[in-house]
Subunit: 296 residues, 4 copies
């Protein structure tokens, strides 16, 4: 399939490369010439503007951008993609943005005669490179079926979440819970060890009991409970605190617009913010346990 | 083995019955004559006082009582079990109490020449009846090995958590995390559904993603996401909100004494308290989701 | 002075009326014909569009609108006030909006050759009618001095808070603190009375001690501690919970953009949101004490 | 009046000295010989035990001790003051303890034929020395009238709070509110200044507006907003974070026993605990603002 790909950063770059590997034809655009060059080296065709990409008439356009303003700017407005595309086109935005904005863009796309899916991912840069991302997809069943084989070249878990915006809803709800449960594990581990139990023994009990969760089993924040996790290498790698902060900001803002209380979700956001303020925003979010342990 | 059993309530009664089934000889005591009668009918010998039970010279005494004051009253003091027992005896307290009190009682027991384990359980009355409880055990390795076969008649997961009090530490740490993660799931489900996603779809995504936890997979608080859980039968059965409140009280009080912050743990305690205040203390703790959804 | 006034609602209407009483000449605009009629009856000149008002060439334009989107829509854009006004004009926005948006509009106004102040108010509709509002004003000293006499016709406490946006900053910071301290008073009164102390005795002690604050002294949330406050008349009148929610939303959103934690501020927002969800959004915000007392 | 005084520490010492200055006859006891010596130098008579003090037959016994266990140990038990005093005596405990314990001791005192008041203080060591303490007093009207003239020699604000324990109730409720509002002020000042407003300007607006409170007007946590406050001298002096923690522990524990939610009160406790964990427990509690500002 001829696919246009816009946004070739840490996530978009390896995602696009996997599409090339799967045999798709790619027209690519990014503000960074270096990012474009890398993909061209792998077989993509460079476009020097969004307009040029639209003119190439791809069947499907995929975007992977940092935040809602970039997405709105790309699709909407006078020189936006929606007005540039001359024929009905399938659009697939993989950016993580708020559900409200995702629905605004999708509605505008349909109004302009296009098809559109929101499809935020989880799995990080490792998953993007390995082609093992999870895609949470919002849009109609027909749109979803059209895009599914393409998504399968970039991920292994492709979930249809319902209508437009629901991909974003699934992601913010899941990540808000993740942000809360990580702090819960951090508090439980800090409390238990301060009361004298061995960290591995405690983690073992939690992991076979009603406290078990991804944050205890897969990314335990206590150092050296698990191997090959951020906590056992100084909290490097992983999912940065500032990225968790971005997602919690999306969740609490979506909650505000929906008039929906999220008491622990908002508390978690503020605790990560307090932690980031002290200069730890680049550490894996499991480093939040440092708030609960005496620092030298 | 000749075992003394003190405290034959909703938990202690079926636990004692399982010991009888396993072939042990039981001397039992409870303030409720009816509770004693039930066990006598199953083969136990009734004692009409703690002193009488002590005089029967059991090799092991098991206690299952509501709270720390009952445990202290049973073991310590002038007419307490520690002074009544005339020979070194193995003692096993299965009550859920604060680690500080557990350690105080254990230390007194050792001082008096006895052996003592703290061994709080999880699994509820269903697990007590089925003999599938989890025991979290604090005490020496020798004490643990002595008691292990007896515990195996009442439970299927017998974990040595380290020295005295660590059984209680494991339980309060795990249950604090449970209390937090249940609220986290409640908020995520309430947020997601208020933003338009189907509850089962959202739960399915969470359960295969980084938000997954016991509270989403096994006891999801959203009605009709899972069958045979409290949320799908009006929040009856299960683990009552007021029992969760008791455990969160133990956790935050232990944290206070250890000068250990537990920010979300304390928030969770207060939210369950606010929910209980409105008359919902007997509902399964997953009913906390009602705080987040419009009530008629 | 010839003043243009846009937005004649519950606040803007009486504010404009006070300007007429002070002898100013008013050109007014509102989407509601009835609101315009009321002011015309008091001596104002009606404009049937923003463009018509701009054509009337007022020396000063005052706007009083519900939220940031309305303010941006009025001032910015192709048919916005900034492009309609043909000569340098003093602009004064009394709407309560986020500081970021206020600064964006002010910067655009200056770029277009105008002068602009942000001047949100406190004091409610009673203060608007009585001409006793507090104005928190952001902008240059010269702009402030120009507008001060006009503001003095509508309020009695006119404070220069520094550069553009600082009026909004002062308001969101003050109101966030107000939202927190009201809940603090509610918790202290609920705790004290549940422990047996008389509510008036407790309020008396707090008001002469280190807990004293506006929420205890002037708007105590416990019924019948003070006369003539919402708590003593079923929480009617006063400052609605949903208005407090709006201001806390502005505060936490401004905090998020500034990467500034506001832990209790965010908690307060969520608690008012939970209270509003149960149908109490129209009650004075002191009604939050109902979260802490058993409801029939 | 012949008064027995037990507990001559940082608070009790200067309080006893003020009683001597007012012409009362004092029999004193403390575990610290140096503390006793200091009072003897000022005219008191030393007792080498509580029993000796009881034998001296004072009309009134005042105690000022660190915590509930000390108070219970002094009054209750086999060798406690209640059994040592041979004639009905007025008892006045100025220690800050939980209301539950205060009521337990008062009930025991009455049962033994004595009169008893709980009378915790506020005002710190400066107030103790200057004789300007506030006393919050629980007990009967007759008991209160008997003690009032004596209290007047040590304080200037003597408030009868109702029956036994209500002095403690008033203190924990007020101090919980104080702990919350200080964090509220810290967040408001940190938010405002991070958004660009001058700290003194913001404090000025808050202090004439609905956010005003003791923590903003008298002990503002932002450096150099006020002179002669801890914030303007490195947070030395004042009311230590660990003392605030003690009072918040009393408040949340009393709330737990009363099944009363205190959501922000518990959050405040945890935040001070997190701050203390990082080594700041000796700083004035207004130093909590450091949680909200970037530390070098």
């Amino acid at each position: 399939m001829h696919i246009g790909f816009i946004g070739l950063g840490h996530m978009g770059g390896p995602m696009a490369a996997n599409l090339l590997k799967a045999g798709h034809q790619l027209s690519v655009f990014d503000l960074s010439a270096a990012a474009v060059e890398a993909l061209v080296g792998a077989g993509a065709t460079a476009c020097d503007s969004v307009a040029a990409l639209a003119t190439a008439r791809p069947e499907l356009v995929i975007s992977m951008l940092p935040a809602a303003p970039h997405v709105k700017s790309l699709y909407l407005g006078d020189a936006g993609l929606l007005s540039l595309l001359q024929q009905p086109t399938h659009l697939l935005d993989c950016s993580t943005i708020d559900p409200h904005s995702a629905r605004e863009v999708s509605a505008a796309a349909r109004q302009a005669g296009h098809y559109m899916l929101d499809a935020p991912v989880s799995g990080g840069t490792a998953g993007a490179t390995a082609g093992t991302l999870t895609f949470m997809v919002g849009g109609s069943a027909e749109e979803f079926e059209f895009a599914r084989p393409v998504l399968a070249a970039m991920g292994k878990n492709i979930v249809h979440c319902g209508d437009s915006g629901n991909g974003q809803v699934a992601k913010v709800a899941n990540n808000m819970l993740l942000g809360i449960s990580m702090i819960g594990v951090a508090e439980a581990m800090a409390l238990g060890t301060s009361l004298g139990i061995d960290a591995k023994v405690l983690a073992g009990i939690i992991n076979t009991s009603s406290g078990r969760c991804w944050s205890s089993e897969v990314n335990n924040p206590y150092p050296d409970v698990l191997e090959n996790v951020p906590a056992s290498r100084g909290y490097t790698g992983g999912f940065g605190t500032d990225l968790m902060l971005k997602d919690l900001g999306l969740a609490t803002e979506a909650a505000r617009l929906a008039k929906q209380p999220v008491i622990l979700g908002a508390a978690a956001q503020q605790l990560y913010q307090a932690f980031s303020l002290q200069g730890h925003g680049q550490l894996d979010f499991s480093a939040i346990i440092k708030l609960y342990t005496k620092q030298e």
